[in-house]
């Protein structure tokens, strides 16, 4: 068997996922999946909040929430009720409309991301033939919301956080997209459903370097440690959401976790074989992998310190970008020259190349940055 399955033909566009005898046609399908996605996102975010708080409690030699409900599982519900009852404050000299709109602008695109994520074969809102392009495009809209929050708050810490966001997310978008391209080259399709279908071997094995770059870039994209500069609580209080309270703050909190969920889902789809897996039903496999990726994300959060803003930029441009480009080049060559090669050869070669590159970069690339003469 080859990596590049010759019998496979990419689907031609939207509509293929609908079975011909689907009752109600497009609108019913649309309605059902909108509800599924909203419920899925909200339920998973609640679950993630609980999981992260309990998990980090373990990492930090303490218990974590364990009072509300059995094992504290109702803690997110209690938090939600508390936050709903809080007073909503708009800073006196803040830009009222921008301040009000910002959480919405940040939240909507994150939910929209799930439209193209396949929960199992064909089970997705829209099987766009440009699915991954859609993901990349939509996920960069959240930045606007965060910048609006920073600007509308009329707070210097918020503004600092917002400026950091723009610099950070624009820079990290580039290695992120380049690392996805490797997957697209192998899969031969931009549709997420098709990408899962061709993964008889999870692409994390064929694209180890691509996975690494994507994972790091995604952590920066969703502002998780060590790249959580825009809400760095020890430096700029709470960054862009310093002035937010009540439900609007809750929306930002929701965005943070929904983004983590989205990134986990996309990593699962692109690199971990999506819903594919033996024995268990596909939807369960998808969930297990998503939770696994999220576990990795908050494990990192509770372990390592934060980088500085100039080091962050240097890391994106001097480390991740070249690595992503090299990965793209190698993948391109492999797809062109060795389409018949055994997958294990390619896996071995790619792992070796990744090891060499990382060794090289860790030797010659220093996260430096120093004092500025003023």
């Amino acid at each position: 068997m080859t990596v590049f399955d010759p019998g496979f033909s990419p689907s031609s566009g939207y509509g293929q996922t609908l079975p011909p005898d689907w009752p109600g046609g497009f609108w019913l399908h649309w309605g059902v999946f909108v509800v599924i996605i909203l419920v899925f996102v909200l339920a998973m975010v609640m679950g993630f909040i609980y999981l992260e708080r309990r998990g980090i409690g373990r990492f930090q030699v303490r218990l974590g929430p364990n009072r509300v409900g059995p094992f504290g599982v109702l803690q997110p519900v209690a938090d939600a009720i508390k936050v709903l009852l809080k007073e909503d404050i708009i800073p006196a000299k803040g830009d009222k409309w921008v301040h009000w709109l910002a959480p919405v602008v940040a939240f909507v695109p994150v939910v929209m991301l799930f439209a193209v994520v396949p929960f199992q074969d064909g089970a997705l809102l829209a099987d766009l033939n440009i699915g991954i392009l859609y993901v990349v495009a939509i996920s960069s809209i959240s930045v606007v919301g965060i910048f609006m929050a920073g600007w509308g708050s009329n707070n210097k810490f918020s503004l600092l956080g917002a400026m950091r966001t723009v610099a950070q997310e624009v820079s990290y978008e580039i290695p992120l997209v380049l690392s996805i391209l490797g997957v697209v080259l192998i899969a031969g399709s931009l549709s997420l459903n098709d990408i899962v279908k061709v993964q008889s071997i999870p692409f994390i094995l064929l694209q180890p370097l691509g996975f690494l770059v994507y994972f790091i870039g995604a952590c920066a994209e969703i502002n998780r440690t060590p790249f959580d500069l825009l809400e760095a609580d020890s430096e700029i209080v709470a960054g862009f959401h310093t002035e937010y309270s009540g439900m609007k703050f809750a929306l930002f909190y929701l965005v943070e976790y929904a983004e983590a969920l989205a990134i986990s889902a996309i990593i699962t789809t692109l690199f971990l074989g999506g819903w594919r897996g033996p024995v268990l039903p596909p939807f369960l496999w998808f969930l297990i992998k998503v939770v696994g990726v999220f576990f990795l994300i908050f494990w990192i959060r509770s372990t390592i310190p934060r980088v500085r803003v100039d080091q962050l930029m240097a890391f994106a441009w001097k480390c991740l970008l070249p690595l992503a480009l090299i990965n793209l080049l190698i993948t391109g060559v492999e797809v062109l020259v060795l389409p018949e090669a055994l997958p294990w050869t390619i896996i071995f070669v790619n792992l070796a190349i990744m090891a060499v590159l990382i060794a090289l970069w860790s030797k010659f690339f220093q996260l430096g940055g120093g004092r500025v003469e003023v």
């Binding site: 810490f157 020890s234 310190p305």
Partner: protein
Amino acid sequence: MALKTEPFVVNIGPAHPSTHGVFRMRTTLDGEVIVDMEPVFGYLHRGIEKLAEERTYTGVIPLTDRLDYLASMSNNLAYVLAVEKLAEIPVPGRAEYLRVIMAELQRIASHLIAVGAFLNDCGAFMTPILYMLREREKILDLFEMVSGQRLTYNYMRVGGVSQDVPEEFIPALGKFVKVMPGFIDEYDQLLAENEILLARAKGVGILPKELAINISASGPVLRASGVKWDIRKADPYSIYDRFEFDIPTGTVGDCYDRYRVRIQEMRQSVRILKQALEQLPQGEVRSDVPHLLRPPVGEVYGHIEAPKGELGFCLVSDNSIAPYRFHIRAPSLINLTALRDMIVGWKVADAIIIFGSIDICMGEVDR
């Protein structure tokens, strides 16, 4: 085309997550770079120096608890040493040992907070500080055994300590001394060689040797700059000349060195504790001292190596029951004077960790 920019002023503090109390930095920023900084303090001023002048010599001890509230035992020790020097009061042998034990335990507890808070400032999301609080709790338990308090101990007295330790204290301390080196190794494993921490702390906020001496910095801040100066060795007080220990020093004087020096000092404190536990004699813990002490007319300066640096008490006596003048040389305040020189030119994130690496306690800065 050159963009027109203008500096803007940001108040970091007094209510800010990492100002370690109510310190305020009026920083002028050019983008992320700090071009100027003006420290503002006094938010926690309670007039302790003036209050002490209205109290008897023995009644001042509870006030000293409230100076550096992370190191109350050391404050007590520094004060009673000054009074004993002024009134020439002898101290029983067992009391001397108990004082050293308390002071060294307190040094470990204070350094645990310092290192934990520093790593927290670096952004390590609470994990290191919670690991360190776990061992600090054990020290607080020990202090609770001897004094009944967990924060303001009020344990030392002029001429000794308030009471002998309970019988369960010595085994508990022996156990602590045995397990503590392992825990210090654990702290090292957490982040000491972490690439991000090295990038953040190495070479950042350098305090040159000459400047450190000029501003009369002391404690780990001075030693990290490569000056081998420790009052326990330079001017041995109490019974520190009976113990064997080293003075860890840094080389560069950056944040990383200050962090390392504190970790090393914890190891040395455990060493001292071990020796003190072996040599601990039996006997009285308090000599006979009148409640209304009237020291002879004179002036005295007693100083110790507190966890944060040289803590000194200057007392002037006019042969009355209260000190005529009571002055505190607070190490936090004096180390803080180097802050502006250290952070100008660095970024906001650096300013926070440089400030954290000085390890101040606002109770002592403002007093």
